[in-house]
Structures are given as C-alpha cells and as structure tokens.
C-alpha cells in the first residue's frame, strides 16, 4: 500500500493552500491554458519573456491539490530560466513523477512530487501546468493545451 503522505507531502499541501504567483498578469507576452476535461482542472499560465529568458510567470485557475501545487512550484522555479533550461527541468520532473526516481540536483520543492508515480491516475494533474507553460514558451501563438491531447 502506498502512503497518502507520499502523495500529499507537506510542501504540496502548503502550495495548495497558499499558491505562489497566483495572479493574472497584466500585459503578458504569452498566455496558455491547460485543461483536463476529465476532472475539470483548468489553469491559465502567464509569461513575460526577455529575449530567450522567462522573466516573469504567474498562473490562475482551479483544480486539485496536485495540479495547483505543481503550478505554484513551477512558477517559482521557471522565473529567470531560459526556454532550454525550463525544458530540462520539466524532463527531470516528468521522469520523477513517472518513475519515482529523484535526481538530487536542481529539483528543490519539485521533489515533493516524487510520490505521484505511485498514483498513476494523478500524473496528468502534476504535469498539466507544465505542458501549458512549455507550450507558451515554445509557441508565440500559444493557445490551449489539454492533457487528453
């Protein structure tokens, strides 16, 4: 039996209760929407870019504790990163939530999501806002992202 505390670590519960950068950005450079139609999770991610670098990130929306905390942690982490760095962090994160293997470097609060891999139905929740953000970074026309796609 997996332990619930593995899934809902204190960091996650905290970010869920008090999400960081939880605000609609005025005049963002990029906006993307992440939707999970199965459960109704719905987030908008706002980005401001300086050259290749993400200078500001915020989000708004509603969803489960995992998806909200993940978005909140992500916004803290992506600030100041280049598109390439952001992609690399996501890859490690994705690796972790699907295998449970934690890479000790660079993951900071993200390691709180290591328990997600024991709950395969929840992996989509953890990655939803990341899909939206990376999409927004990569695509100047960034639009809607859905975990079903």
């Amino acid at each position: 039996m997996q332990d619930l505390a593995d899934l809902y670590q204190a960091v996650i519960l905290d970010h869920n209760r008090r999400p960081r950068n939880f605000v609609a950005m005025e005049s963002p450079d990029r906006v993307a929407v992440g939707d999970n139609p199965v459960c109704g999770d719905h987030y908008t991610v706002f980005l401001r870019l300086e050259g290749d670098r993400i200078s500001e990130v915020s989000f708004q929306g509603a969803g489960c504790a995992i998806s909200k905390a993940s978005a909140s942690v992500m916004t803290s982490l992506l600030k100041g990163k280049t598109a390439e760095e952001a992609r690399k962090i996501y890859e490690k994160f994705h690796q972790m939530v699907t295998t449970g293997e934690v890479d000790p470097e660079n993951l900071s609060d993200l390691s709180a999501f290591a328990g997600v891999y024991q709950f395969p139905a929840r992996i989509k929740c953890a990655t939803l806002s990341w899909h939206a953000a990376l999409n927004a970074v990569a695509d100047p026309e960034a639009g809607k992202v859905s975990t079903e796609e």
């Binding site: 039996m1 809902y8 869920n16 139609p37 459960c39 969803g63 504790a65």
Partner: protein, 405 residues
Amino acid sequence: MKAIETLRKDFPILHQQVNGFDLVYFDNAATTQKPRAVLDVLMHYYECDNSNVHRGIHTLSHRATVAYEAARERVASFIGARTEEVVFTRGTTEGINLVARAWGDANLRAGDRILLTEMEHHSNLVPWQLLAERTGAELIFLPITGDEGLLDLERLDVLLSDGVKLFAFTHISNALGTINPAGELCRRAREKGVITLVDAAQSVGHAPLDVMDLGCDFLVFSGHKMCAPTGIGALYGRFDLLQSLPPFHGGGEMILTVDWLHSDWKRAPHKFEAGTPNISGAIALAAAMDYLDAIGRDAIFAHDRELGAYAADRLRELPNLRLLGPRDERSGIVSFHLNDIHSHDIVSFADHRGIALRGGHHCTQPLMRRLGLDSTTRASFYFYNNREEIDRFVEVLSEIQTFFG
C-alpha cells in the same frame, strides 16, 4: 429483500481489500458488479453452447439461437415490451446513436427542434448535436431548478410547442440523483405529438419499469449498469415506429435478400442488428434480469432510496459541503462539492481507505457549468451496499476535510 449480507456473497469482487481496507464500492452509477449467477451463465454458454446464431441448423447453433432469442423475450418481459420491440445494442450510447441516425435522419428537417434537459449525460446530448448539424434541426433545453436538480416542469408545455419533434430525457440523473417523472413527461409530449426517448441507463436495473405505463416511444439502457457484462444493452422502440425506420448498420444477419446493388431488410428488430451480435452478452443480460427480479425491483428501488436519503442526511452534517440533487425522493446517487477540496483529491484519498467514489463531471459538462462547478464527488449505491459503508465513507470525508483544512 434478502439480507444484504446474503446478496453480497453472490459478488466475488466485493470480497477484496483495496489499499488494506475492505472494498467499499460506491461507483455503481458508472458500472455495477456482476453476481456469480450471471458469470455462471456466461461460462456455461462458452463451455457448452457457443456458436453463431440465426444462420445455422446444427445443434450448437440452434442452442445459441434459441438462447439469444429467449434473451430478447426476457428483456421484453422485463420492461413490458413485445419481443420484436427489443433491439440489442452495445449499450445506452449506441441505442441513442441508433435512434439519432435511423429515426433522426429520416424524420428531421431544418428548423425542427429537439428538446433535451439540462441534466443530460453526454451520450444523450452529443448524438443530437451531430444530428442537428446534419439536418439543421435545433436543440433546446428544459431547465433545472438549481442545486436541487429538478426539472422545471412549468416550462415544459411552452418548450414542447411548435416545431419540437423529439423529447429525449434521462429517467434518473447520473449526476444529481434526480428521479424524473418519466410517465408524466411522456404523456405531456404525446399529447403534443412529440416522440419521446427515455435514457433509462440509471433506472432499468434499479426500479420497476414498464414501457407501456411510461408511454414512451423509445427507451435505451446498458447491461453493465444492471449486473450484466459490458458490451450489451438494449433499445426499446414502439413496433410500428421501428418498422417505419431505415436500417442503422448494414451487413450480415439484418438482410432478407442481397443483390449486387440493392438489398432488402428483415423486419424489426433484426433489421437493426447487423453482424454477429454480442450473443453471450445478451444471454448474460437475461440472467442478470432473472437475478434482479428474484431480489425484487421494488425492494431494490426502496433500498437505493433509503441509502440515498441516509447518505444525504449524514453528508449534511459536514461543514462546507454543497449537496446537489433533490431534497426528497432521491435515488441511490449522491453528488456533492466540498469547498476548497477538489473531487479528485477526495477520490484519491477515499481510495486509500478502500472506498471507490467517482469525481469529475460525470459526463455532464454543461450541467456542471450551469451549476458553476468544475466537478463533483459522487457516491452511488446498489442493493449490495449498506449503512455501515456510508458511515465509513462519511468518516473518511471528515478526515479529508481535516487533512486539507
């Protein structure tokens, strides 16, 4: 009704632990479990009688054909229809698509209207959207009263006015637990010459039902929601109406004579069953009906409602809980929203206590939006559930509120 503990013994799947706790299966509106008696019939078919139907005269083929057609008779008797009014389908969704294609394409014109309700399952909405696109017909909706989730019957006669050709509605709402007054709705539609389709997915296995009493033109349901296997269901259609329709799919079994460029069809219901049907599924569906009737549908319905009322009462004890659905006369489906806690967190947590719930939009996205919700958490009961399980469930909800508080 037999004692619940006795009935539970008939269901092998219920006797397992999930995450270290005895399983509490409260996801019956999504699909029900299958009793030993139904599984035995399924096995017996494959171990003794399996063969293709209709076209054969050897012994196994004859046995399979007789059993398959006897299953049709059993379904007919279960819902008060004539045998030739029962078409086997994969389930509710296919039944509705069949009517939308065979009846809809032949009978609707641009400007005609289809009346639905605000509480329909996607399966009783999307096929009509597709039909509307094909024909230029228009969809209109009978509203609900709000969180209580009752149909606003005062609006019905106005909405059933000129141009409405079909009224399709759910008998029991899978998202709210509302029991709609199907007989009255059909009667009022018939008075205006409007064809009715009843989505009985949540009612046929839970309550006594008779299509003649209801006075409906079409009725659809799924076997898997009433103790039968997946992949089988039935469509009831008034015989003269069925007879008047073109076929749905083409192929073997549904034809009388076939030439290179043209074919003639069998009469209803076989006209609508192209290809090898789900033979074992139909036979097992009949066995499920025998099983349900042995318990008694009145008793099942009373038990459902009793548990639904009990669960609603217990849930009202919890703070910050928004309970959906009717105050009284609710079915065994209870849907709610806990402030600030998402349904998927609730379901994951409850699953860790061995309780199977469903969270999400329950295939009723427009209804959710209408209620200003992303999703709800739903517990849905059947005759093998009991009060102790509901007590455990409410306790776990308390725990969840503390955990995420």
